[in-house]
């Protein structure tokens, strides 16, 4: 079974530039998550999709970050314009579902995209 795919693996940009990350979840997984992991910290959930609808985006900086999951499969996360503090690893994960007390909410993670903003 193929895992969660992410690209690119590494990206270096200058502040105020734009960048986009792509994620392809495991086939059949309805729920997709984007996390930001700053060096030395645990991952922070940015946005969660159920199929192509947003379940939670309360921690997404909406003035500069946007995400979409057209057709309920793959997803794109964009930053425009980037700031120095956006330097982090951006992780994508997927799960069969998201119901508490269920095996459905086990998340499978991709390798991440390491973003450096200069």
């Amino acid at each position: 079974e193929a895992g969660v795919a992410q690209s690119p693996r590494y990206k270096i940009i200058e502040k105020r530039q734009s960048v986009a990350f792509w994620c392809n979840p495991i086939s059949g997984h309805a729920t997709l998550y984007w996390y930001q992991q700053i060096l030395g910290q645990g991952p922070k959930l940015l946005i969660q999709f159920q199929n192509n609808g947003v379940v939670d985006d309360s921690q997404l900086p909406k003035d500069r970050f946007s995400a979409e999951r057209l057709k309920g499969v793959d997803s794109t996360l964009k930053i425009q314009p980037a700031k120095l503090e956006d330097s982090a690893v951006y992780l994508c994960a997927s799960s069969l579902g998201f119901r508490t007390d269920s095996f459905l909410n086990e998340q499978f993670f991709g390798p991440g995209t390491r973003l450096t903003v200069l």
């Binding site: 939670d56 508490t100 095996f103 086990e106």
Partner: protein, 114 residues
């Protein structure tokens, strides 16, 4: 409010000795609890999960964790550390707060000495 606290940022053990990584959580609902491991330059991998079945949960590579509701704890243990266990470990809580939220702890880095 939902939260998770990993009580140690770093733990150092000798190979062959027991491992204890501590995690406390706060949740208004019946939570699901997970431990993930992250080896350097590798993706996050699930070690084990608790979803209201047995309170003692066994995972991969000899790890286990016990859910203690009265203490709001979910500590990770292993009887005998191996060099390959050196990594970052994350305790994670998911519940129905505000829809459905997942929160990661700050992580505990495990060092294993030969």
């Amino acid at each position: 409010a939902q939260s998770v606290t990993q009580l140690d940022s770093h733990v150092s053990v000798s190979e062959g000795t027991p491992v204890l990584l501590r995690c406390n959580y706060s949740s208004s609902y019946s939570p699901s609890l997970f431990w993930y491991v992250q080896h350097p330059n590798k993706g996050l991998q699930l070690l084990l999960k608790y979803t209201s079945a047995a309170t003692l949960v066994k995972g991969i590579n000899g790890f286990e964790a016990e859910f203690k509701k009265s203490e709001t704890s979910f500590h990770l243990t292993k009887p005998s550390a191996h060099m390959s266990d050196a990594a970052e470990y994350f305790c994670v809580v998911s519940d129905q707060t505000g829809g459905f939220k997942t929160i990661f702890g700050a992580g505990t880095r495990l060092f294993v000495k030969a």
